[in-house]
């Protein structure tokens, strides 16, 4: 057997996109540090805030990455997350239910909607785009059916969960003191990181995860190889439903309210995160670590605009668009050059 050096393992062409994401993130971060280092861009707090402000996108992106790797797409995530917020808000404020009951109901709703969509996609052969679009309309409609107004979430359980935080400390003169400016991680950040770890484990260490890649590579082949294509696809959409609900909980903790129009267009933000994280929309390629950096990369741009203070926030959208363009060009380049090598 040929011994594999660490170097040759790391230079495997399949990792190029992940390197590109990490590289561009570092470049933009360095750029920010150069311009606004004196205003505090380099602090731990700024970095941790990238996680805090975008945890809900990140959590949803974990499920979305899996869906995209199978070659599918899920447009319902924003609406399902929004509906989760409505469940919690309406349940606690109007029906006087315990938040955990509401969360449980939301989980059942999200996962079963996901499984149902997966079933329709696989067995009725309706394109994923159309199926999940219908799912999105449905979830949004139910949101509006519950309430058109924004409902505040007032419940001590939610309050305590939302305000629970771990302060980052450093060791000075024999004492642990809070670092300055004060930085902390909260429940959302932990949930985000845990989901990324779970996602990585599923994708890299389980047969289910590898089947996801196989289906994305060539669904017909996967089925001829005897892999459980239908079951895997349905479960992936179910898992993504779970991620949407968790993202919805995280968002509810973040804004402490439920609103029928919240997270509109969120699905595309999530897809954008995955794409700039190196996931191919054609399926078969993508890594959780790439998605993690995709989320960070997408969130560092608004941070830069905030630090600048003069730019309209709209520039953020344009910058994200340009970033997408850049990544798509890199992907094209990688695909073409790997083909040339083969020839």
């Amino acid at each position: 057997m040929k011994k594999q050096s660490v170097f040759s393992r790391l230079t495997n062409p399949k990792y190029i996109m992940v390197y590109a994401t990490i590289g561009i993130f570092l470049i933009i971060y360095a750029f920010g540090a150069f311009l606004y280092g004196d205003k505090g861009f380099m602090t731990v707090r700024t970095f941790v805030n990238l996680f805090i402000d975008n945890a809900y996108f990140g959590i949803s992106a974990v499920g979305m990455t899996m869906v995209l790797i199978t070659g599918g797409i899920d447009l319902s995530v924003g609406a399902v997350a929004s509906l989760t917020g409505m469940f919690i808000a309406y349940g606690t404020s109007v029906l006087n239910l315990h938040p955990l009951t509401c969360i449980f109901a939301a989980l059942v709703m999200g996962v079963s909607l996901g499984l149902l969509m997966g079933w329709v996609i696989h067995y009725l052969k309706v394109p994923a785009f159309i199926t999940t679009l219908t799912g999105m309309f449905f979830a949004r409609g139910v949101c509006s059916l519950i309430s058109r107004e924004s409902i505040d979430i007032k419940h001590e359980f939610i309050d305590s969960l939302a305000s629970w935080k771990i302060y980052l400390m450093k060791y000075v003169d024999g004492n642990w003191v809070r670092i300055k400016p004060i930085a902390f991680i909260n429940f959302n950040v932990i949930l985000f990181v845990i989901m990324i770890i779970i996602g990585t484990f599923i994708l890299q260490k389980t047969r289910f995860g590898r089947n996801i890649y196989a289906i994305g590579g060539n669904e017909q082949s996967a089925s001829l190889m005897g892999l459980p294509v239908g079951r895997t696809k349905i479960l992936v959409y179910g898992f993504n439903g779970l991620c949407s609900v968790l993202a919805g909980i995280s968002y509810a903790l973040y804004v402490k309210s439920g609103w029928n129009l919240s997270l509109q267009g969120g699905e595309l933000e999530v897809i954008t995160c995955a794409v700039i994280g190196g996931t191919l929309l054609t399926g078969g390629v993508g890594y959780m670590i790439g998605t993690l950096f995709g989320v960070l990369l997408k969130s560092v741009i608004p941070a830069l605009i905030t630090f600048n203070g003069n730019l309209l926030s709209w520039w953020g959208k344009i910058a994200t668009g340009l970033l997408l363009l850049l990544f798509i060009c890199i992907q094209r380049f990688v695909v073409t050059s790997s083909k040339l090598k083969k020839a």
Binding site: M1, K2, Q4, S8, R9, N12, P13, K14, F201, Q204, K205, T206, R207, R210, N211, Y213, A214, G216, G217, N218, Q220, S221, A222, S223, L224, M225, G226, L227, P228, G284, V285, S338, K341, K342, A343
Partner: protein, 498 residues
């Protein structure tokens, strides 16, 4: 010997077609059993029935004496039936190692044991004398290695029955021999192997028995020494092969003018420098191995690959080809090698497929009327004997041979001066093959210059006036078609210029 597999009275009906009609088949443990028949005879359908891809309408399957009903390929694998399907059926994005172990990865501590997967895969591939990095994605490697990978997967499953459906199509001679060694090895271990191939020599080289199908019917099962090659072909085709052996080469006068001349053409990425010329009404054969530069030359003459130097003249006028459209304007036509990917437009009707080249030459602003299209299509359906109820049938639903005829019709309708055919007879049955060769020669007779690329030397020698021999992306020789033998050409291909 004991039968490991027995299929009795299998019938499968597709809409409008009886794909299999009461077919019996048996396989002994420790034998290599060839399954033969033309395209559409039902070989693949029988295999798909056995592997659970298609459901049978009637009949019974017994494995080791127990009745089985495979529901899907996964189920078939569990039952002990492992298959290499006709086209590479692996996932290009997964590593070679993973393709071999997908769905049955060894586990350790609740997770996949990658180390074991990679080391076992390396071992397996080295059995085929392939020392490659098995952690790279499959798409990184050539088709031959991909095919070997799928064979390695099927072999490693350690099934009772191994099915190999056209496994040798993209392998070279050495690789085929390696595969045969592995097959013999498995046979001696008591595995039953079903082997499907179009290459008659390979059948005689490796199998013990053979079963012949024709039009969904069982013709018979024979020991390998019971039938000669000629008898075998006659049984497969069901009619005499005189057609093939009665073809007459096109007649070209020595002083007839040149139709197309390419002088020292080439580009950086494919072929550096090649000169070919073809006379009016001549048939120029291109011989050489896959990858020797035959297809690349054709692509340059058709404007698919742009030339960076050299010039091409058509009837003494220099022409510049930037894209296929230009070539079509100059009445050059090209039937590509990969029919499915580059030729047929499956979802469109036969009518639309046939009118396409004519229409694209005229541009979309000068459309043909529906009636004109129908007339054109029906003319060629009749002329080429395309088997279809009418011209509105989807081209993708036709058999391989008929699809090839539709593509040929597309180019005949464009009334070419030069017709380039890249492997037009690959993967189609002998009857259709003979017909396509006859058509080629008829075109020559009507003054069209035909460039004919093929891997099968006998058909090249049978039809060509002159033969260009390619090797390592260069032209190494040009021989007279009437005065050469297969051995002459093989020698040049193997050793370089004569």
């Amino acid at each position: 010997m004991q039968n490991v597999l027995e299929m009795k009275g299998i019938s499968i009906e597709f809409p409008g077609v009886k794909a299999l009609d009461n077919v019996d088949f048996s396989l002994r443990a420790g034998e290599i059993h060839s399954l033969l028949g033309e395209n559409g005879a039902g070989k693949s359908t029988l295999i798909k029935c056995l592997t659970g891809v298609n459901r049978k309408d009637s009949g019974k399957i017994f494995l080791d004496g127990h009745e089985i009903n495979p529901t899907d390929p996964g189920n078939a694998i569990d039952l002990g039936i492992s298959t290499v399907f006709q086209e590479v059926n692996l996932c290009p994005n997964l590593s070679v190692a993973e393709n071999i172990f997908a769905g049955r990865q060894p586990m350790k501590h609740g997770g996949i044991n990658w180390r074991e997967i990679n080391s076992r895969a390396s071992e397996l591939m080295s059995r085929f004398h392939l020392d490659i990095d098995v952690t790279r994605p499959l798409s990184y490697y050539s088709t031959a290695i991909q095919q070997m990978t799928s064979i390695a997967r099927a072999v490693d499953i350690q099934a009772k029955i191994l099915i190999l459906d056209e496994p040798t199509s993209s392998l070279d001679e050495n690789e085929v021999q390696l595969l045969f060694d592995v097959m013999r090895d498995l046979r001696s271990q008591g595995m039953g192997i079903i082997f499907i191939t179009h290459f008659l020599d390979q059948i005689y080289a490796v199998s013990d028995r053979m079963t012949i199908l024709r039009n969904g019917h069982l013709i018979g099962t024979y020991n390998i020494d019971e039938l000669t090659k000629f008898e075998l072909v006659t049984k497969m085709v069901g009619k005499d092969m005189d057609v093939i052996f009665n073809l007459k080469r096109a007649e070209v006068a020595d002083d007839s003018e040149f139709m197309l001349k390419a002088e020292h053409i080439g580009n950086a990425s494919t072929i550096n420098d090649i000169s070919v010329s073809i006379k009016k009404g001549e048939l120029l054969g291109f011989a050489g191995l896959l990858g020797s530069g035959r297809t690349e030359t054709a692509q340059m003459l058709f404007g698919v690959n742009r030339i960076s130097h050299g010039n091409i003249t058509l009837e003494d006028h220099e022409i510049i080809l930037k894209q296929p459209f230009d070539a079509i304007k100059f009445r050059i036509a090209f039937c590509p090698e990969d029919r499915k990917r580059d030729g047929i437009i499956g979802d469109l009707s036969i009518r639309e497929n046939i009118m396409l080249a004519v229409q694209s030459r005229e541009g979309f602003m000068k459309p043909m009327s529906h009636q004109e299209q129908v007339t054109l299509a029906n003319k060629y359906i009749k002329l080429l004997g395309i088997a279809t109820p009418d011209c509105e049938k989807k081209a993708g639903e036709l058999s391989g041979g008929n699809q090839q005829k539709v593509i040929l019709a597309r180019w005949m309708a464009a009334e070419p001066k030069v017709l380039i055919l890249d492997e037009p007879t690959r993967g189609i049955d002998i009857g259709a093959k003979a017909e396509i060769q006859r058509l080629m020669l008829e075109m020559c007779g009507s003054g069209v210059s035909v460039i004919f690329i093929s891997s099968e030397l006998d058909e090249i020698i049978r039809c060509s006036n002159r033969i260009v021999i390619m090797r390592d992306r260069a032209k190494v020789a040009e021989v007279d078609g009437a005065n050469c033998t297969q051995n002459d050409i093989l020698k040049i291909i193997a050793e370089g210029a004569a």
